[in-house]
């Protein structure tokens, strides 16, 4: 058993409302969020926040810096297939995202829910025409799998989208 076990059972929560978005990972090892907001100039801003531990930090990135941060997805190819899988009673189709370096992410998405903000927060799925409810990545014969367990349309507190100041 290795370090991977500290991330096993973790939860990734995606929040979106009014053009803002946040993705948060909660695991035994760390809690971290990425916020996306749109300024008056329509430019997107990204804030990475490590929320757990004694040493917390905040990183702010412009849209260009965010693209550089995710440059491994430049030139990636998204192949849509007809394979399907059911997740949370949504019929999802399969998409295969192939990176330039040969790495592959397999995703299942539904077109019934559209959340374009998430495609900025998750550049791996920028070419997927719907909301990704399940995806997997395999490295050295071991797989990390994310599966949606709930979707909620309940109101979200404004503070959820407020990145730390300073």
């Amino acid at each position: 058993m290795g370090l991977a076990e500290t991330y096993n059972g973790g939860v990734e929560t995606l929040f979106t409302a009014g053009g803002q978005a946040r993705i948060r990972l909660v695991s035994l090892m760390r809690i971290q969020s990425i916020f996306m907001s749109t300024g008056d100039d329509e430019a997107k801003r990204f804030t990475i926040v490590k929320e757990s531990g004694k040493d917390k930090y905040v990183s702010r990135l412009t849209e260009d810096e965010w693209k550089t941060y995710n440059k491994k997805y430049d030139g990636s190819v998204c192949k849509l297939t007809e394979d399907t899988s059911e997740v949370l009673n949504f019929k999802c189709k399969k998409a295969i995202v192939s990176l330039k370096n040969g790495k592959i992410i397999t995703a299942w998405y539904t077109t019934a829910i559209q959340a374009p903000a998430f495609s900025f927060l998750e550049p791996a799925f920028s070419g997927v025409p719907g909301l990704v409810l399940k995806y997997e990545y395999t490295y050295k014969k071991k797989t990390i799998a994310y599966t949606a367990t709930s979707i909620s349309h309940a109101p979200i507190e404004k503070n959820v989208f407020k990145a730390p100041v300073g």
């Binding site: 973790g10 035994l28 971290q32 040493d55 404004k158 730390p164």
Partner: protein, 275 residues
């Protein structure tokens, strides 16, 4: 009178080489195997064997190598034994490798989606905002457009100070979940950390998120609380604690302080935790 070595040596001092024709005649008789008057009926070689002397070991080995009979057999046997030993080592090493790598489980992460048309302020949230599939999602429309309010202070960078586990509330130590679950002191160690179980442990973080701690992770955390009869931490406990600290250090080195790696990215995370 036979085998009198003293006489033999004395006689050797007075030996005379026989005439050439006598020597030739004697040789002829020996080779043909004819009986020689006055000599034993034993063939010459058998008689000579009475005076056989075992050669030195190094000479014996050289004779064998020269003959190539016994050494070939030994060489083949040695080769087979060496090959068999190598094969056993390779198989044993492969089995050890497979058993170790097999223990590394795949990682499962839950994914929750919270989508609303616009963020709202001052709306009291129910304790559990999880929407059941058969409940109409109309709460947002009734709330209307949120009013502009004074900017709220930035969210604090911290984990909630308290968590809820099996109905119990616990305080978070050092703003860190892993540290919290490995820092309890006797007798305050919760039962869910010391009991034997096959089920993951559910931790309620806040109204949006709960976390599951795998049974393997529970087992490791449980080990950090093993003690000796005198109450001091057992060697196994200290070793596991060091291991967890080492993992944390590696994780921070990989993902913190502008490293460029993103733990929310599946490729960055997968490449790191499975390396």
């Amino acid at each position: 009178m036979t085998d009198r070595q003293d006489i033999w040596h004395h006689l050797k001092d007075h030996e005379v080489i026989p005439p050439q024709e006598v020597f030739a005649r004697l040789r002829q008789m020996l080779e043909s195997g004819d009986a020689v008057p006055g000599l034993s009926v034993q063939p010459p070689l058998e008689r000579l064997q009475q005076y056989a002397v075992t050669p030195p070991a190094f000479l014996g080995r050289q004779i064998e190598l020269r003959l190539g009979i016994r050494s070939r057999f030994l060489g083949r046997a040695r080769w087979y034994l060496s090959a068999a030993a190598c094969l056993v080592l390779v198989v044993a090493g492969w089995m050890v490798y497979r058993s170790y790598s097999g223990r590394e489980n795949n990682v499962a992460v839950e994914r929750k989606v919270r989508q609303s048309a616009a963020p709202v302020a001052n709306v009291p949230l129910p304790a559990d905002t999880l929407l059941k599939k058969d409940t109409p999602a109309r709460v947002l429309a009734a709330a209307g457009t949120p009013k502009d309010t004074r900017s709220a202070p930035g969210a604090k960078i911290s984990v909630r100070p308290v968590l809820s586990i099996e109905g119990q509330t616990i305080s978070v130590t050092d703003n860190d979940l892993l540290v919290t679950f490995t820092s309890f002191t006797y007798p305050a160690i919760p039962a869910y950390l010391t009991r034997n179980t096959d089920k993951p442990l559910k931790i309620n973080i806040d109204q949006y998120t709960h976390l599951y701690v795998s049974k393997n992770m529970l087992s490791m955390m449980k080990q950090t609380y093993e003690v000796l009869p005198n109450g001091k931490p057992a060697r196994k406990a200290k070793k596991m604690k060091r291991r967890l600290d080492n993992w944390k250090e590696k994780d921070q080195k990989r993902f913190d302080k502008g490293s460029g790696a993103n733990p929310l990215d599946p490729v960055d995370l997968g490449d790191f935790i499975f390396r």
